[in-house]
């Protein structure tokens, strides 16, 4: 079975090895891969089982934006110190936090995405940017609609 990557975890999570989540598109299901340090867990959401997909806007991106900008400004204070080592270190950290800030702003608003089936409601971390969610839904929604309209009611081959 071939899988196409829909979305991965964000920049922050990519930096922590062993705490990544990725969402892949299969032929009849979505595959959520949750990596927990030394183990990889696979969760399959079949198109025919998904009842609702909800997304709620959050202010997480603003909070992270504030944190990154504060850290970048804090690191930039080293420019006032007349010490080449301090300036070099400060430049490095300012660039690092500045990049994180810009990346966070470019990625755009965050949201909480949940897939609801008859037996569970699961949070889908890889789609938790509004932009990724919209892009993902453009692909997923028609596939779910097609699968559910074609498969209702469940086939009864001998009846």
């Amino acid at each position: 079975m071939s899988y196409t990557k829909l979305s991965g975890s964000g920049l922050l999570m990519t930096l922590f090895p062993g705490l990544r989540t990725k969402l892949y598109l299969g032929t009849d299901h979505l595959l959520l891969i949750e990596q927990l340090i030394l183990v990889e867990r696979y969760k399959r959401f079949y198109f025919r089982d998904i009842q609702v997909i909800t997304a709620t806007q959050t202010s997480r991106w603003l909070v992270f934006g504030a944190i990154w900008s504060f850290l970048a400004l804090l690191a930039a204070l080293s420019f006032f110190v007349h010490n080449p080592v301090a300036v070099a270190t400060g430049t490095l950290f300012t660039a690092l936090f500045g990049f994180a800030f810009v990346h966070n702003m470019i990625q755009g608003p965050t949201c909480i995405v949940r897939f609801q089936t008859a037996v569970q409601t699961h949070r889908i971390a890889p789609l938790e940017r509004i932009r990724d969610f919209r892009k993902g839904m453009e692909i997923i929604e028609p596939l779910i609609q097609t699968a559910q309209l074609a498969n209702t009611p469940p086939p009864n081959r001998n009846a």
Partner: protein, 194 residues
Amino acid sequence: MLAKLTCPHCSESLPIDLFVAGQAGRCPACNSQVEAYIFPEFHKDSSIPPEIRLAPEHEAACYFHSRYRAVNPCDNCGRFLCEICTINVGSRQLCAECLSQLRKQRNEAGLVHHSALFDNVALFLVTAPVITVFFCFLTILSAPVSLFLSVYYWSRQWNLLPRSHFRFVLAILLSLLLIAFWVFLIYYIATGRR
């Protein structure tokens, strides 16, 4: 029982007619913006029990319940199954035995739900003690173990989606470096004492 749509923020029930696909609605209780895509499966009544019919004479009966009429064959083993025994997994219909087997089957057709990341284990064994500094001495044991794991699982590690060998290569290089360091240190101490 019909499925319920609830607000992810306050868990209050949301009226379905509030939502149009791709457009956000506001929760009447907490006023948070919620976008919901509702699919036909949502409107299905899950409280309706499966229809079970007794198998008339000369008609196929369920492999597990000989009194019940078979409605589907298992897509994996071909056994006849009644409504109770049929498990829908995507487009496949399976019996409980086959589902259990497929959850252990490590190939693309299987339904395996987890796999170990031996490349991460090997890398962890050589990097974690060094990073902590205090436990650096543990690398005398962990480096050979890491080297063994990297070589042994080089072609044996199985994951649903293929992974690169980058971590294995890194673990081998680091463990060789650490082993060389310990050999040198032991040799130095041994010759220094003479």
